[in-house]
């Protein structure tokens, strides 16, 4: 890439909707593979996807399994930010989330989005 590019991908669908849960991971995976900086933001039921052990259970037809996508995104430097109230309201804490997932509040999401080249919301 000649210029630094940054993609924010907001995820609001959970494991009960495998296709809508997986598409943002597919986009984020393609982006990190393309040397684009990636920040994934998890809100609503989307935060359940970064609960330990959940991603491995989600597979949408004709898409790569979500567990492997999550692993690749982390390996290639993608950041995982999780909505604080969404986590709390589901009885979760940082210990329940996958390694590297960071609990943040709205202002951090705003800072990431306003400094991004593009934001995708799913």
């Amino acid at each position: 890439m000649s210029d630094h590019e940054k993609l924010v991908v907001m995820v609001t669908h959970g494991p009960d909707e495998p296709e809508l849960a997986t598409i943002p991971f597919a986009m984020a995976g393609a982006a990190v593979a393309s040397d684009v900086e990636v920040v994934m933001g998890f809100q609503g039921n989307g935060c359940l996807l970064v609960k330990k052990g959940v991603a491995e259970t989600v597979t949408a037809p004709e898409f790569a399994p979500l567990g492997g996508l999550l692993e690749s995104i982390r390996e290639l430097g993608g950041q995982l930010l999780v909505c604080s109230p969404c986590v709390k309201s589901r009885g979760l804490s940082e210990d329940d989330l996958v390694e590297g997932a960071e609990i943040v509040a709205a202002a951090r999401f705003v800072a990431e989005i306003t400094s991004a080249t593009t934001t995708l919301v799913y």
Binding site: A26, M27, A30, D35, A64
Partner: protein, 85 residues
């Protein structure tokens, strides 16, 4: 008429057959990180999306698709690593 065929020896082969979107590209990106500029990766994929994905990825990341063709159900690409990646 004489047919000219490009003969390029790959430095590494990536068998991504059976992998679904976007894993062929993700695996390609990982494999390319292990190569030196100028070296060539041979990618084999059965994901139809790779036909559009590989050239787009290569253009965006400064790599070069030297050849692409189909062998049965398999899409084969030869990708040369660019100077900056």
């Amino acid at each position: 008429m004489t047919q000219i065929q490009i003969q390029v020896q790959e430095d590494q082969t990536l068998d991504a057959r059976g992998l679904l979107c976007p894993m062929p590209i993700v695996k390609t990106a990982k494999a390319m990180k292990t190569l030196e500029p100028g070296q060539v990766l041979k990618l084999m994929s059965t994901d139809r999306g790779s036909v559009a994905d590989v050239p787009a990825w290569a253009e965006g990341t400064g790599n070069e698709v030297l050849d692409s063709h189909q062998e049965g159900d398999t899409f084969v690409f030869l990708v040369r690593k660019g100077k900056v990646a």
